[in-house]
């Protein structure tokens, strides 16, 4: 079975979105969406790990036997996370100071593992790389969207501290939507993560239904 690149992109970004359709990777989704910037950073780091580990698994898929595939996948994901962790610490230190605490958590995210098992283990290197990139970007999109809603309603800002993450050139992204005193603290605290993520999932399904798509499709297409 081979999948076209357009399909891979659509799947990753919307149809089979890791968070909004497959409901995978909920731990970083809840923990890292207190602001849009945090969600964006965590999403991008995850995308790098997913792309690298997807390509590696596809490259070695002829050698990985069925019986030991799970430990090998975990090994590859953990190794990629450590490489990203060390590399960012050494060469992107400012970014590392913001995200460093959360990079190791990518190992425990089931989304990369699920994509290795269901996609990279049977596809070519290029296609697996594309799947990693688009699934990662879809993850980034979902995290940033959830983070944006929580941040706007909870703290009144949008993309606060984005310049710490992306560099001074992105200062223009930092916005104040409403006064801080109007913020609803609940949205920043953990329950807010569940509320907003749940509503986003509902929202995505409503759009899909309105567009005439059957909801079962997305579920059946997943792992």
């Amino acid at each position: 079975m081979s999948t076209g690149y357009g399909r891979i992109a659509r799947d990753g970004l919307w149809d089979n979105n890791g968070v909004l359709a497959m409901l995978l990777g909920m731990c970083p989704t809840m923990a890292m969406t207190t602001s849009a910037t945090n969600g964006l950073g965590m999403g991008l780091a995850t995308a790098v790990v997913m792309a690298a580990s997807g390509a590696l698994v596809a490259l070695f898929r002829g050698y990985i036997t069925q019986e030991v595939r799970i430990p090998v996948y975990i090994l590859i994901v953990a190794a990629m996370v450590t490489v990203v962790d060390l590399g960012m610490n050494a060469y992107m230190h400012d970014l590392y100071k913001v995200l460093g605490l959360f990079i190791p958590l990518i190992v425990s995210n089931c989304l990369p593992l699920a994509r290795l098992e269901s996609f990279a283990s049977k596809e070519t290197v290029m296609r697996s790389l594309a799947d990693g990139v688009f699934m990662g970007l879809g993850f980034t999109l979902a995290l940033t969207a959830i983070g944006a809603v929580r941040e706007i309603i909870g703290a009144g800002t949008l993309f606060a501290d984005a310049s710490l993450l992306l560099g001074p050139a992105f200062k223009f992204m930092e916005m104040r939507i409403m006064p801080e005193s109007m913020g609803v603290l609940l949205l920043i605290l953990p329950p807010g993560g569940f509320l907003v993520a749940g509503l986003m999932v509902v929202g995505k399904r409503m759009i899909d239904v309105a567009g005439g798509k059957s909801i079962q499709m997305a579920g059946a297409h997943a792992v």
């Binding site: 945090n38 036997t65 060390l86």
Partner: protein, 214 residues
């Protein structure tokens, strides 16, 4: 070899472990020096924020003395000197926040006044407790210039506890932890000033610190 034997599976897994182990060792080797350099820069930055450049002509990062801290563990004291005279010291203090310890760097002048405080590490709620970071607000700068007599010790508390320091909206526990840590840090300085500013490196005598101010 038979591809279905368990030995073969073991060898495959072993080969991957070896390969990625080597990759990690290589990455570590390549990045080690850069990471150490970054850590040094961080230390330097956090020190220069709590010790003004104007009061020293030495490098406080390397001019240290180790004494026994308030918690019984070793405490590294960074010292600012001008003309071989200790003009200020900086050391790590920690308070209990909402989500675990808050580590701070405290700079104290020879006269016992706060030269500056900066948060080093904490796990406070983003958007609430993290306003103690200089990046997120100037709350932490309000301590500069204050000392244990100004305000009086009993006023070294957040307003909710009857003190004089503002908590921020939605977070009381974090500022309470920070104010308490600075108060104790200053008391520690008052009790240990001779040890912290002495010229020769001491062998951790026994500064049985009387931490009466709690």
């Amino acid at each position: 070899m038979n591809k279905n034997s368990s030995i073969y599976h073991g060898l495959v897994l072993g080969a991957f472990c070896l390969g990625f182990g080597l990759l990690l060792a290589l990455t570590h080797r390549v990045t080690k020096e850069d990471i150490a350099a970054r850590a040094m820069e961080d230390r330097q930055n956090s020190l220069s924020a709590v010790i003004p450049d104007s009061i020293h002509d030495n490098n406080p990062v390397t001019d240290t003395v180790t004494i026994k801290g308030g918690d019984g563990k070793e405490l590294t004291v960074y010292r600012a000197k001008k003309g071989n005279q200790v003009t200020g010291v900086a050391y790590e203090i920690s308070g209990i926040g909402y989500a675990g310890p808050i580590k701070l760097m405290l700079g104290v002048g020879a006269d016992g006044r706060v030269l500056g405080v900066r948060a080093l590490a904490h796990k406070e709620t983003p958007g609430l407790g993290d306003k103690i970071e200089i990046k997120k607000g100037d709350w932490i700068t309000r301590f500069t210039g204050l000392s244990l007599g100004n305000p009086p010790v009993e006023k070294w508390k957040v307003k909710k506890d009857g003190g004089q320091f503002d908590q921020f909206s939605g977070a009381t526990i974090t500022p309470r932890g920070v104010v308490g840590a600075i108060r104790e840090g200053l008391a520690f300085f008052a009790a240990n000033q001779p040890l912290m500013t002495q010229q020769t490196t001491p062998q951790t005598a026994n500064p049985q610190i009387s931490n009466e101010v709690r």
